[in-house]
């Protein structure tokens, strides 16, 4: 997503002289800005802690800096700087996870898997956390970040999920889930790249005559409570899917909403089940080994596992008679 990001960054900088960028060896993301406004495109080398500190300082001076580093490193190496200097400091800094989260790095190893980024960023008071699914949404998210006052995290995907809506029919509103398909037999909630898996799970179910509701939760914080609670009311089971630990990310956030509202609707969180994805292979290899697939979603809906499975089975009348 370097291209759409860089394009919108330049557009924003053109319109507002306060907009600037700091890069942690992510030149591709600031190249167009650097060409037009060299002073407002600052390369600081491989140094995430310094990156966030410098961005905080620019914000002290009234600038609107975008601080760009690779997803796992910009959320973990400098977590305290983000938490304290941006969160506690209430700084208007936009942190950008570049090059992709989840296990997009596949066999390049766990150091490069960003499987905690949503959880970590969500922990920080006032932080907005967004994971766009494709180029169009990336552009909207970057524009929204510039307008919204306060710290903001965007996890940029590498590659794009196919959202299958014509652009003119699409809308992007911070904190509002996108209803991709209507259905009442189950709700599947995806985020970022796993929107593609959610849609494919929907296809697999549809081929069995089952209509699942599909929600895209691009804003993980503040999360769309209303959409989640409506799903809890109108569909008998909710399945979240994320390339992320199930602790504290999308699944965690949905669980919190359901539990606090006293919704009894069963929830299954598809994602990394408190493990590292330690294996060589492609992103797809890792996802299938660790059960982050459309098939896993379908299985949870048709043949639920774990605690509450029985309850779920009997409650889900829409699935009666399905083998």
């Amino acid at each position: 997503m370097a291209k759409p990001f860089a394009r919108v960054l330049l557009e924003l900088a053109d319109a507002d002289p306060r907009v600037c960028a700091v890069s942690c060896d992510c030149r591709g993301f600031i190249a167009p800005l650097a060409e037009q406004f060299p002073q407002r495109a600052i390369e600081i080398g491989i140094a995430e802690q310094n990156l966030i500190g410098i961005a905080a300082g620019l914000a002290v001076r009234g600038k609107i800096p975008f601080a760009i580093g690779m997803n796992p490193f910009v959320t973990m190496r400098c977590f305290e700087q983000v938490r304290t200097d941006l969160g506690y400091g209430a700084r208007n800094v936009k942190v950008i996870g570049a090059y992709g989260g989840g296990v997009v790095y596949g066999g390049w190893g766990c150091t490069h898997h960003a499987i905690e980024e949503m959880a970590l960023m969500r922990l920080i008071p006032t932080m907005t956390v967004v994971m766009p699914a494709d180029a169009w949404e990336t552009e909207q998210a970057v524009r929204a970040a510039a307008i919204r006052e306060g710290p903001f995290y965007i996890s940029l995907a590498r590659g794009a999920a196919v959202v299958e809506q014509p652009e003119e029919a699409r809308s992007f509103e911070l904190g509002k889930a996108v209803l991709l398909r209507e259905g009442d037999a189950a709700t599947i909630i995806g985020v970022g790249p796993t929107v593609a898996d959610a849609l494919r799970a929907g296809d697999l179910l549809e081929s069995q005559g089952i209509a699942a509701r599909i929600l895209e939760m691009h804003t993980v914080k503040p999360i769309d409570r209303e959409a989640i609670l409506r799903a809890a009311e109108e569909t008998p089971v909710i399945v979240t899917i994320e390339e992320h630990t199930v602790i504290g990310g999308l699944g965690g956030a949905v669980a919190e909403v359901l539990a606090e509202a006293g919704a009894g609707t069963p929830l299954k969180r598809i994602g990394l089940q408190d493990v590292f994805a330690v294996m060589s292979g492609s992103q797809q290899d890792l996802k299938s080994r660790y059960g982050i697939t459309a098939e896993a979603v379908v299985k949870e809906i048709l043949h639920p596992s774990g605690a509450g499975a029985h309850h779920k089975d009997t409650k889900n009348t829409k699935l009666r008679g399905v083998p």
């Binding site: 060896d25 030149r27 390369e43 600081i44 080398g45 491989i46 140094a47 995430e48 802690q49 310094n50 796992p72 490193f73 973990m76 190496r77 790095y105 596949g106 066999g107 390049w108 190893g109 766990c110 150091t111 490069h112 330690v278 294996m279 060589s280 292979g281 492609s282 290899d285």
Partner: protein, 276 residues
């Protein structure tokens, strides 16, 4: 390991190590012919690895966890292909394993992975971790009053991470003369290092933190041998070698490049340059 060799033996040794380095490069180039690869930084440290793995490090490939071993930490974990090649050549696993780079269930990984690859002690890939781990390991060895040594190879761009300088300070403070840092000074990260964030005067930085510093040509095998055979350079101080290298060394058409994957024609040309 060996006694002091005569001049002729010495020349033979250097020639042998040069051949090992060439072989490491050939294996890396073949990996880059099959998959994406951080080829530039893997090639720039090939001579250093050849000397370490075939002359300097005390190791037992049949028992990678042997407590008498010298420890090697590749802090710039993205350059693991040349380490994999050296480990295979040294007998830690079969050379055919190298043909599985990035494939499903391979024993080797895109970044150094201790949990998959025998002979690798520390998983790296996030830059700026290796030297602190090296300091801890060297402290542990001192606690045990043992003679093992710790060698850490760092990238130059990597030195922009502040954590390194915390480790540099700690190593000198604790007088860790069993710790050796080697900077693969190839002058590039994803772009030119001095343009992105200046490191010079680099040797002065290390020296002012209390390290004993030697700057060498990192492709001069004889110089690497002489230097690494003389560690610690001073009693009571950690040693650092600033090895001036060329990113992509050995394959002229990828010099200074960070990542490079070869198509068939490029692979042939690269192997030809390496005399293979």
């Amino acid at each position: 390991m060996c006694g002091v060799p005569g001049q002729q033996n010495r020349n033979e040794l250097i020639a042998e190590l040069e051949e090992k380095a060439r072989r490491i490069r050939v294996l890396v180039v073949k990996m880059a012919g099959m998959s994406d690869c951080h080829t530039g930084g893997a090639l720039s440290m090939a001579d250093i690895l050849a000397v370490l793995y075939f002359r300097i490090l005390t190791l037992d490939p049949r028992n990678p966890q042997w407590s008498g071993r010298d420890y090697f930490i590749l802090s710039k974990g993205h350059c693991v292909p040349s380490l994999d090649a050296a480990l295979a050549m040294r007998g830690f696993f079969p050379e055919e394993t190298l043909t599985t780079h990035l494939e499903r269930d391979s024993m080797i990984s895109g970044h150094a992975c201790a949990r998959l690859t025998p002979g690798i002690d520390v998983s790296t890939g996030s830059l700026g971790h290796g030297l602190s781990i090296g300091v801890g390991c060297a402290l542990g060895i001192k606690m045990d009053r043992e003679p093992n040594r710790v060698f850490v190879v760092l990238g130059d761009g990597e030195l922009q991470e502040g954590s390194n300088w915390e480790a540099v300070m700690a190593a000198a403070h604790h007088r860790l003369d069993n710790l050796v840092a080697i900077v693969d000074r190839n002058w590039y990260q994803t772009g030119a290092t001095e343009e992105m964030m200046r490191l010079e005067p680099l040797a002065d930085k290390w020296a002012s933190f209390g390290w004993s510093v030697l700057t060498i040509d990192g492709h001069d095998v004889a110089a690497i041998v002489d230097t690494l055979e003389s560690v610690p350079f001073e009693q009571g101080r950690p040693s650092v070698v600033i090895a001036n290298t060329v990113k992509g060394k050995g394959v002229s058409f990828i010099e200074t490049r960070h990542m490079a994957r070869f198509d068939e024609a490029q692979l042939r040309a690269a192997l030809h340059e390496l005399g293979a």
